[in-house]
Symmetry: C2
Subunit: 125 residues, 2 copies
DNA sequence: TGGTTATTTAACCAGGAGGTTATTAGCGAT
DNA sequence: ATCGCTAATAACCTCCTGGTTAAATAACCA
């Protein structure tokens, strides 16, 4: 899985307009003006967003006379989910609790003098 | 689920350095200099990346003397996965195939004169 | 007190992102 | 041929991002 593709995929997903476009395309393919209609934004702006989505491989376009129907492509999203899923096990809450518990035990071990390890109660959200 | 939080979460994930930091933190918490060590980049640059991750809620920090141990926070990632999962059903390959098939049928229907709908073979990746 | 280590902040810079308006290109229809 | 519709491109603006180096903070140590 290419790192650059993940870059462009996550970057594409980072804008609400583009997520809304993807959500709209999940229902059916649509033309540029159809996609632009619900937004208070010029048509060129939407074209730019579409180019970002296209470069990320999230959208492909056909040709129907003047229209350029846009269609959603799933693969990059699957890759993004796969990357996230790779770490989901480590991110499990239980792991974090265990980590905090170990820190706490180690801190208690050093009560003879200096307590050198992190204090879990010092964590700031 | 807040849209702004999704913005900052996906934006934070869009940089390879930050993904590497998260991957490192998935193993255990670490200090800023520990995190900076493997990168050919100044330490202030890493601090900036950490601030991005912290503002996205992906990382929290404690205090251990001079050190600021960083710890991974899972919730925003769960939110991101949840957003992606919401659309996974629509993104299923079967749906795309069905959509393409419907287009093709509709195109065939109009062979009496003009074929007004999108041509699946005209799609460009 | 002064020194050392860890981290943040400040100031700066180049380049990219996201928007605008105006213009151009592509294609059908008259 | 030309008009109208759809979409892309150009040129421009502002703000944010990602990096730098240098200086300021914070906390420990002797």
């Amino acid at each position: 899985m290419d790192a650059e593709l993940l870059d462009t995929t996550f970057a594409a997903l980072a804008h609400p307009t583009r997520r809304a476009i993807l959500a709209r395309l999940a229902l059916s393919e649509a033309t540029v003006t159809e996609l632009a209609e619900p937004f208070e934004m010029s048509q060129p702006a939407i074209s730019k967003h579409l180019r970002v989505l296209e470069r990320a491989g999230l959208v492909s376009r056909g040709r129907d006379a003047q229209r350029r129907p846009c269609r959603l492509e799933a693969q990059p999203l699957r890759d993004a989910v796969a990357w996230l899923a790779d770490y989901r096990d480590y991110w499990a809450e239980s792991y974090q609790r265990l980590d905090a518990l170990l820190d706490e035990l180690q801190a208690v071990d050093h009560t003879d003098g200096e307590s050198r390890r992190a204090r879990p109660d010092g964590m700031v959200r």
